[in-house]
């Protein structure tokens, strides 16, 4: 998902790029709890029948589910912020607030590479003088295309 400043300032622009995500951390925890409850019920039932060996397997599985949900939650909260000033284009990590790279606006170039067979997703780079930063790796194809077009307009359209 790409968000952009609502103001119509032609010179300064801010773009925020995020992966699509539908779960907040709170709902993630709820999903995990619901699964844990169901699995716990199953494990408890079979333990009561004498098959206590089901417990370690449900436990291991819950651990894996938790890990998967957590890792993906981290991943889906990443954010790239592109700030376009009169002079420069800078890219920050939106979550850490750290600046990653900055390029002179006049020289900044947008390059989109495509797999000739359309088998792999395209990649989008921004930079100048041979130094490039990849942006929007987590976007889907259409969003990336639109982003590339809009960036080109925004940078050159000053």
């Amino acid at each position: 998902m790409v968000l952009t400043g609502a103001d119509n300032d032609p010179v300064h622009k801010v773009l925020v790029i995020e992966p699509n995500r539908q779960l907040s951390w709170k709902t993630t925890k709820r999903v995990f709890l619901a699964l844990a409850l169901c699995l716990g019920g199953v494990a408890w039932y079979f333990t009561s029948l004498g098959a206590w060996l089901v417990i370690p397997f449900t436990g291991l599985e819950l651990l894996l589910i938790g890990l998967g949900l957590y890792l993906h939650c981290c991943h889906s909260h990443q954010q790239q912020v592109i700030q376009i000033d009169a002079e420069s284009v800078s890219i920050c990590d939106g979550r850490l607030g750290a600046q990653q790279a900055s390029f002179p606006r006049a020289w900044a170039k947008i390059i989109q590479t495509r797999d000739p067979k359309g088998w792999y997703p395209s990649r989008l780079f921004i930079g100048s003088h041979g130094q490039f930063v990849e942006i929007g790796k987590f976007l889907i194809e259409g969003e990336r295309d639109t982003l590339a077009d809009n960036l080109r307009c925004a940078i050159q359209g000053a």
Binding site: M1, Q22, L53, F125, G130, F138, E141, G142
Partner: protein
């Protein structure tokens, strides 16, 4: 993230790995989907070969081809390979290919885990095949003569090949669980903005439910077979009555997994049907909400009726009544699903390409299998049907149309999308007719065999059962050989053919057919929140 140096070349070519590295280290959902599908195709032929051997042996009374233990081992292997090697990976292949495309996600949620969950499969298949091969070598112990249900105490008698099998089942379980976690996270978290759960394509819904079912039941099977391993080697007696254990406990553990497993095999194909039938009827799916609801109902009720596979173990009357009523109740949501499919076809503008032909065959034959399932659910009558050839006929009528034909329909439906080429429609139709007719000749007579008194899993039978076995075996030859045509069609389509358009079918709907023209519900509208 750091800056990279881009040369002129890189700007135009992709830096994806080539050759075997592309496949071994792949984290791309399309590559992994392809791997899953190819693996499933291979296993389909392996499992099919064992089925052919079984039918050859049963062609005539007497023991001609294999010895009894080898026969029982073939029965075991046919089931395990077809379920864990062919149907589940094929469904997972479809999921990998289609889910990200359908919900507008760049890839699966956990690509590296995706890679792992596929590459466990060849290892597991190797273990499975080893369990079959090992007894042929000196010191290899006896063959697995238990059937796929692995009931103790018989499975405790078996030699070391059972240990291989237990290990293989563990691996297969890990693979399924990893794939399920991946699919659940993808579906819950990575849908395109605006795609609410109740707007999700049906195929995604079916896989969401399937993945939940897998997560709930796989640990129980893992626990069960581990207890079997302990009984075999570490002197425990979970299932040994002489040591205070309970042989029936394993059956409960097994069928708690085994019955939902049926729905795990079935649901993805129902999902495929919910795309194929509307596409070729040129009309939206009838009753999306009731489809989702009935699917959830099937999954929920299906979790708690496992013991209808064990009516003959001598449960109390209260218990069997509960399991009987529960099982019969399942016919309500399943009936609603079938009704929705027919109502989708009703007043549509149908054309009959291969996917649609398979879809119609599923509606008809799955109904047939489902109805014989209602007969089997009736406890007193099941006292007769249980473990007879009638059961064999019933579950092949459920699983072949319900699972395998659904996958065939899906493969033919999406093959143009995957390969960029149209398949040969004429060959596809020939394949459909030989396949379906062969299937019916094979399995329809087995109903009569069962009623007349032929138990399942016997290598040799009395002359009174000859006629129908002959018919069944002749059908099996047609049915088995027809799959060579499938192989030919698939390879031919991969190599080339008429160029497929991005919307390959006139009536096809869904994000996956619009990849070149993305939907408009994203970006550039919401105010940003930047520090």
């Amino acid at each position: 993230m750091s800056t990279t140096t881009l040369s002129h070349d890189e700007a135009h070519h992709h830096d994806a790995p080539k050759g075997w590295r592309r496949w071994l280290f792949s984290t791309n959902h399309k590559d992994i989907g392809t791997l899953y599908l190819l693996f499933a195709l291979t296993m389909l032929f392996l499992g099919g070969a064992s089925a052919m051997l079984i039918r050859m042996e049963l062609f005539m009374p007497g023991i001609q081809l294999v010895d009894p233990d080898l026969y029982n081992n073939l029965v075991t292997n046919h089931a395990l390979i077809m379920i864990f090697g062919a149907v589940m990976p094929a469904a997972a292949g479809l999921a990998n290919w289609m889910i990200p495309m359908m919900i507008g996600a760049p890839d699966m949620a956990l690509p590296r885990m995706n890679n792992l969950s596929f590459w466990i499969l060849p290892a597991a298949a190797t273990m499975l095949i080893l369990s079959f091969v090992v007894p042929f070598f000196p010191g290899g112990g006896t063959q697995i003569n238990t059937g796929w249900t692995l009931y103790p105490p018989l499975s405790v008698q078996v030699g070391m090949s059972m240990d291989f099998l237990i290990f293989a089942i563990h691996l297969l379980g890990i693979s399924s669980v990893l794939a399920s976690i991946n699919i659940i996270v993808t579906l819950l978290n990575m849908r395109a903005p605006g795609m609410a759960l109740m707007k999700m394509p049906m195929f995604c819904w079916t896989w969401l439910v399937t993945a939940f079912l897998l997560i709930l039941v796989v640990p129980v099977l893992a626990g069960g077979v581990t207890m079997l391993l302990f009984d075999r080697h570490f002197g425990t007696s979970f299932f040994d009555a002489a040591g205070g254990g309970d042989p029936v406990l394993f059956q409960h553990l097994f069928w708690f997994f085994g019955h939902p497993e049926v729905y795990i095999l079935l649901l993805p194909s129902i999902g495929v049907l919910s795309h194929v039938i509307p596409a070729f009827s040129r009309k939206p799916l009838f009753g999306y909400n009731s489809m989702v609801g009935s699917m959830l109902a099937v999954a929920t009720i299906g979790m708690v009726v496992w013991a209808h596979h064990q009516y003959t173990i001598g449960m109390s009357m209260g218990a069997v009544t509960y399991f009987m009523i529960g099982t019969i109740i399942i016919s309500i949501p399943v009936g609603l699903m079938i009704f929705n499919f027919i109502a989708t076809m009703w007043r549509g503008s149908m054309t009959f390409e291969t996917p649609m032909l398979f879809a119609i065959a599923i509606v008809l034959m799955f109904t047939f299998g489902g109805l014989s399932g209602v007969m089997l659910a009736v406890v007193p009558a099941d006292m007769q049907y249980h473990d007879s050839m009638f059961v064999v006929a019933h579950f092949h009528y459920v699983l072949m149309p319900g699972a395998v034909f659904g996958l065939f329909a899906g493969v033919f439906y999406w093959l143009p999308k995957w390969t960029g080429h149209m398949y040969d429609e004429r060959l596809g139709k020939i394949f459909f007719w030989t396949n379906v007719i062969g299937f019916n000749i094979t399995f329809f007579p087995q109903h009569f065999l069962g009623l007349a008194g032929m138990p399942r899993r016997i290598i040799d039978y009395n002359v009174m059962f000859t006629e129908f076995n002959v018919i069944s075996s002749v059908g099996a030859i047609i049915f088995g050989l027809s799959h060579l045509l499938l192989l030919y069609i698939v390879i031919k389509t991969i190599r080339g053919g008429k160029k497929a358009e991005s919307r390959s079918w006139e009536g096809a709907k869904g994000l996956e057919w619009e990849l070149d023209s993305p939907p408009a519900f994203h970006t550039w509208t919401v105010a940003p929140q930047v520090k």
